[in-house]
Assembly symmetry: C2
Homo-oligomer: 208 residues x 2
């Protein structure tokens, strides 16, 4: 419909602009508290010695996430959506217009904490990544077919809590493979660092 | 706008019907995996010796939650929304039309796992309860003003994992009190049962 057409036009412009500067962009989605910000804190602290990240944070309210990540050296732009349950391309374009793209090597969009609505909106990224966590329970992949079919990669975070949650990580990943054969699932802990290098490599992020 | 007016008309009809039968209904909201189903499993197993619960479950896909809860004796009706990110009054009305209200003492609606969209839709309940969990991190109350202002009660679940998450429960509850003075926050563990009787009493659920 009209809103989606307008959005996708803008997403196309964003892609074109990024191609001119040869700068990748990833849209990071995931439910409330799945670990999106923690992952970006980790990337900023561990993999940005020789590169500069731009992060565009989307939340209904507060600049907490932008503050957290920028502490580790990344440039962050916080978007507050008010009642909006997912980011839209026009918001990303507006943020990109305020910066000099030449300064950055990689752009991350941290979408609003929501496992449903962000998946169907194109914000002009190269890839859509969904972060889920073991603390959300063992049924997440089964219950969200639209989101996981739209995802280029899934991350199963907080694996350090799998024992406390009585969750079998292999079982979850196997179950996801059966439902979404094309979808790779990377188990991680943003807390301990386990799996984070594999995750970085899968999204084309240099770790040196 | 038109959609909301139509929805609220139906919500009014639901309230009227329930009043005729003197049967309470609670709308349980909360992010993916916060513990909504676990709470209803607990209520069904522990507090339904002398009463019968009706549960209306909303999910994009699967009947996993309805299956889980009905195992403990409650009658469950599963609604699959497809892409819909929150339940609407017409779906609740349709479900209620299929049952004999006289058989039930209490109705629970388990809304779609989503901390944003369900809060602004009236499904014809007496109260809106939001379940959040310590595993979602310490910023949830600050980041979701619309949802918590629309909530009659908040539940902070999975407190048995507070230590593992390095979360200070008192600090979270105090922070919520400062932002939302009218909002009561009940700390619980649906796993150990801690706080579950207090929670039941707060929503007028008989525990005998
Ligand atoms: N134990 C453990 N905790 C984690 C891990 N990753 C994140 N956390 C914690 O989980 C909570 C939520 O993490 P965030 O990074 O804020 O999650 P988020 O997805 O950015 O949340 P929103 O942006 O609010 O939707 C915080 O308390 C983090 O410290 C992990 O791998 N293991
Ligand atoms: N440790 C612990 N785990 C819990 C608690 N409550 C629920 N869980 C676990 O958390 C996971 C998710 O719980 P659910 O009850 O399915 O959550 P939900 O809110 O119904 O999830 P959706 O309906 O999918 O949004 C499951 O693995 C539960 O066993 C709790 O108090 N403590
Ligand atoms: Mg965040
Ligand atoms: Mg559930
Ligand atoms: Zn939405
Ligand atoms: Zn919505």
């Amino acid at each position: 419909q009209k809103i989606q057409e307008k959005n996708d036009q803008i997403a196309g412009r964003i892609r074109q602009k990024r191609q001119n500067f040869d700068i990748p962009m990833i849209d990071i989605m995931g439910s409330v508290g799945s670990g999106k910000t923690s992952v970006l804190e980790y990337f900023s602290r561990e993999f940005a010695k020789n590169q500069k990240f731009l992060v565009i944070n989307g939340d209904l309210a507060t600049d907490i996430d932008a503050q957290r990540i920028s502490r580790f050296g990344s440039k962050c732009i916080q978007i507050n959506t008010g009642r909006g349950c997912h980011l839209m391309a026009f918001q990303i374009e507006k943020a990109l217009d305020t910066i000099d793209l030449q300064k950055y090597d990689f752009i991350f969009v941290e979408n609003v904490g929501n496992l449903i609505c962000p998946s169907s909106t194109d914000v002009g990224a190269d890839k859509k990544i969904t972060i889920t966590s073991v603390t959300e329970g063992p049924y997440v992949f089964r219950k969200h077919p639209v989101t996981f079919r739209m995802s280029d990669l899934a991350v199963l975070n907080k694996i350090d809590l799998a024992l406390a949650m009585d969750i079998d990580i292999h079982e979850i990943i196997q179950g996801s493979k059966e439902l979404y054969p094309q979808l790779e699932v990377v188990p991680t802990s943003a807390k301990t660092g386990e799996g984070m290098e594999v995750f970085a490599e899968k999204i084309g992020l240099s770790i040196n």
